[in-house]
């Protein structure tokens, strides 16, 4: 289960609206390398993951990604407040507006709706941890690209925080991969799949 704290992980306070920027940033809400995809990936991979450290890591990072999902929603919400029809048309936000008004819906910047095909649960510890490492780097690149297109310091500040978290999670998953391989056959890491072939309780 989960409980809710009535605060963001990092504050979001944006003075000026910018629907064109919101349309780009929403990709981290429901896009291929976004926070929803990240959270569901880790929280789904953890059930068959062997080794206590990895179950803990996937649970905790998957939970933190939900807090990031909320921060992205806060950014998009504040960037699209009190818009006039003219602003909506001129900014290109009209293609989103016609379907969702200013509600927050998980889509990519292209408008493609969220799909679980953005992530994988392979059921193999080494494979899933490599996916997780790649996912953190893909999200980091997306935040770098957002920062290239954004000069509002109110938006750059929380985006820079989120970018930095991708780097920290990459570090933690790297340590997780090392913990996993240390417990496998050092002559052949692929000799068996610890999520499927281990009949006895895994140490």
């Amino acid at each position: 289960m989960w409980s809710y704290e009535k605060k963001l992980q990092y504050p979001v306070k944006i003075a000026n609206t910018n629907p064109a920027l919101a349309k780009i940033i929403i990709t981290q809400y429901g896009g291929p390398d976004g926070e929803l995809s990240a959270s569901l990936r880790y929280l789904s991979q953890r059930y068959t993951m062997p080794y206590p450290e990895l179950k803990g890591l996937l649970t905790d990072i998957g939970t933190e990604e939900l807090a990031h999902f909320e921060m992205i929603a806060a950014i998009v919400y504040q960037l699209t407040k009190n818009l006039t029809p003219e602003e909506i048309k001129k900014s290109g936000f009209d293609t989103y507006f016609v379907d969702h008004t200013t509600g927050i819906y998980p889509v990519a910047a292209s408008g493609a709706p969220f799909t679980s095909s953005y992530f994988q649960v392979k059921g193999d510890a080494i494979t899933d941890l490599h996916e997780d490492l790649a996912a953190e780097q893909k999200a980091r690149t997306t935040y770098d690209n957002i920062l290239r297109m954004c000069d509002d310091p109110d938006v750059r500040d929380p985006i820079k925080f989120l970018r930095q978290r991708e780097v920290v999670h990459y570090q933690r998953f790297g340590e997780g991969l090392r913990l996993a391989t240390d417990k496998l056959d050092y002559k052949n890491f692929y000799a068996f799949n610890p999520e499927f072939d281990c009949k006895k309780p895994c140490k």
């Binding site: 605060k7 963001l8 504050p11 306070k13 450290e53 890591l57 909320e70 929603a73 933690r172 340590e175």
Partner: protein
């Protein structure tokens, strides 16, 4: 509004403390015998709990505690949980 600024300033201090604790917590997932990290986590936790208590007494609950919320004759705390600003809001919502 002065109380809004005080609320935001206190919330930022709380967020900074809880972020430091979270960072130590996920570090400990992969370094579960690191005594230095554990010591720091405990020190931050003491500061966080004291500040959380002060914040909640002034500005309402961040984490809903059923007995605290119900132990209040005029339902103030129950009302405060649903009352804005919610975390994504700027306080100017209609």
């Amino acid at each position: 509004m002065e109380s809004t600024n005080e609320r935001e300033a206190m919330l930022r201090r709380l967020s900074a403390l809880s972020f430091a604790m979270w960072e130590l917590h996920i570090f400990l997932d992969t370094h579960n015998c690191d005594k230095e990290a554990m010591r720091k986590l405990e020190a931050y936790d003491i500061k966080y709990k004291a500040l959380l208590k002060e914040y909640e007494s002034k500005f309402g609950p961040l984490i809903l505690n059923i007995s605290d919320a119900n132990n209040n004759a005029d339902c103030n705390n129950r009302w405060a949980w649903t009352q804005g600003p919610w975390p994504w809001e700027d306080g100017k919502e209609c």
